[in-house]
Symmetry: C2
């Protein structure tokens, strides 16, 4: 399985990933900045599917997104308009977007804009919806969900946008690296990074407050104070530009995307173009919130596992011992799980360092052939969605090896094709 | 060594320690709030000594304190005035104060006021002097040191005082408990707690900014942003009220104070009144900043080890793996060192939880008899002072067993005395 050309290609790919410099450059309505976005587009997480393949909570989330955007009066009309081609349902992945859980983006929704200033490309992510268990990105919709989305659009996003204009672009890697030193692993725990981010825009908010936007600023403080998961959206967009930087290196077997839809778990590989390699959903070791069980779970999409693609989340969970209380497990297991990830990665991250491992760099750059050799698939920290909509727990997800095997076969085939 | 009466007394003492509710209630000039403080008083760290016993850096620090306060033109005059009884040198410990390193308090210096709202008593600590390696509390003095102290007195302290007046008293235990979940052990690492504290007064500062104190507020933000050790002074005062709450329980063998002077390491014990039990200085396993060695160290006082008295610092260092970079060592050793502290403590803290130990409570309440039985003395995280003044390193300090043996002998004697 040792292939010098592949190793060299992976070295280039992971080098690009590590050289990436994600900066938050703005927050704008999706339709104004997302490539290919139209007023009639709804984006959703996961490798692309036909509309008929979207089922359950993810299908509902898309329909609710259309209703929220005012494209349809109700979900039946939305469904009709989608089937008639009047509303376009697309994969986030085809529009440089990255979706949390169902990952619904409609035209007017604000998105964070993260630019890789080392390579020039961008990625976009929607904002965290807030503390309610019911959220559109978990497939739920009611007046509260709508009001929360409206407040993000009309108050928080314009204010943060103004704050970023004052402060200038905010480099995200330093905040992420620091988060790892302060108990985050930047997938299921983002407490420190959220607080560090709020601190970065503090002076700008001060200026806006003194300039007459008192109510908005106080509400923004409260939101960031209470919603310590908020940074995840910035971290996901940052991870996406890092992963995208590594994509498209001829001969490389590095994983550059992992994405979940209601139908599958899928990966993309640096040297294998735009093809998605699909397999069954991950297995789960998790902890359910009170009143819920395994039987209540439903796959409704999710792309926050892009953090694992760049050496965070399950690849840095040794930094976040508090996750025991959120997703179950114990610290010894977390250390073992994290340590095992070195066996499927090509590099130790020189910027994301893990203090409990003596500042060893996080395992970074998943090689599909290492996954096949070891039989170890990526450990993904994640939230669990319920059949009724809403989050019902959290845990560690393990994708089956199928999609990695398919990708490896394609890689071998490509090599043998002149 | 099992003594039911002593165990019952220790149970009461540690119960009071854990029931303590330290809140930051204000910041005022020492002379206005510290009991027994006069315009001519200089307080310094450690069990009380005669003036002639203060040597080296600690003596210099006291003299510089008198010069800073304007009580003398230079250190020679200050020395003369002290010997003439015109300037009074006292132990912080006799004035409800707690000193960082040499711990110099003069009349005009601002102190944080921490009240135990469960029991009613208070403790006081000076403010962190800032980023310079040279600080008065490390025995150094020049124009920069003076200017930094003036700025604390004239700008930062009045502003923070006003902020606390707006916000109301700030409970410190929740910030400390959270700090432990975010990589602090609250002696040598206070990064998270400092940031969490700044967040608590953020809205008050906003109001003061809008009210016209822009320059001060921006400078305060910068100070708290750059000086992530700042919280230590609040943590020390909080730990002191907790430790003091446990003091004075008849028959208890719990350690309620540990303090270092240029001459000795000394402890007080709950059931043994105001007596200090003195022994030789701690031994040291540390890391020196570039250019310094073991030979440059000098003992100039220090009472931040009050944090260890209440289950923090070395008793919670498993929470702060980043300290490997600051004080040397490795994480496995830190875990072992921390774990060993359970053998000399009477309780697992129900509020200071250690996530890497599966949220087990921090070992809390050092029993002198457990120290004697095991031969294990407290592990203390600390900064190291240099002969030239200034900090020259950091490490783990281990007091010899002598003072614990003396205290145990006194405890036995008291028991046999009707």
């Amino acid at each position: 399985m040792n292939d010098p050309a592949r190793a060299a290609a992976n070295d280039i790919a992971v080098g690009r990933m590590l050289a990436s410099e994600p900066q938050l450059v703005g927050i704008e309505p999706a339709v104004d900045v997302v490539p290919g976005m139209t007023p009639q587009t709804i984006l959703t997480s996961g490798a692309p599917l036909e509309w008929s393949a979207y089922t359950g909570g993810q299908r509902r989330a898309v329909l609710f997104g259309a209703v929220y955007e005012g494209l349809a009066r109700d979900i039946d009309e939305a469904d009709r308009l989608i089937r008639d081609g009047k509303i376009h349902v697309r994969s986030t992945q085809d529009h440089s977007c990255i979706g949390s859980v169902a990952g619904i983006f409609s035209a007017s929704m604000p998105v964070v804009i993260v630019e890789d200033t080392a390579h020039g490309h961008k990625a976009f992510c929607s904002l965290y919806e807030g503390p309610s268990r019911l959220k559109l990105n978990y497939g739920a919709y009611d007046d509260n969900v709508r009001d929360a989305l409206n407040w993000l659009r009309d108050s928080l996003a314009p204010l943060l946008s103004a704050a970023i204009e004052i402060s200038g672009p905010i480099p995200l890697k330093p905040l992420m690296a620091r988060g790892l030193r302060m108990g985050d692993e930047l997938h299921s725990r983002n407490t420190a990074a959220t607080i560090l981010f709020a601190r970065e825009i503090n002076k700008s908010l001060l200026e806006l407050y003194a300039g007459g936007r008192q109510t908005e600023v106080l509400a923004a403080f409260d939101f960031l104070y209470e919603n310590e998961y908020s940074f995840l959206r910035l971290g996901m967009a940052a991870a996406k530009v890092m992963a995208d930087a590594a994509h498209g290196v001829d001969g490389s077997s590095l994983v550059t995307a992992m994405a979940i839809s209601c139908q599958d778990f899928a990966i993309r590989v640096s040297g294998l173009g735009d093809t998605w390699f699909r397999g069954p959903h991950p297995t789960l070791e998790g902890r359910f919130f009170d009143g819920f069980t395994d039987e209540d779970t439903e796959w409704i999409g999710g792309e926050s596992c892009v953090t694992e693609v760049v050496g965070l989340g399950g690849f840095a969970q040794v930094c976040a011992p508090t996750l025991q209380a959120y997703q179950g497990g114990n610290y010894a297991t977390m250390q073992r799980t994290n340590d095992e990830m070195y066996r499927i990665c090509v590099r130790e991250n020189d910027q994301f360092l893990l203090p409990p491992f003596g500042f060893r760099g996080a395992p970074t750059g998943i090689d599909i052939f290492k996954v096949l050799d070891t039989g170890i698939t990526p450990a993904i920290d994640g939230g669990l969605a319920g059949k009724d909509g809403g989050q019902i727990g959290a845990g560690i997800l393990r994708p089956p090896i199928d999609c990695f095997a398919k990708a490896a076969a394609a890689h071998e085939e490509m090599k043998s094709t002149p």
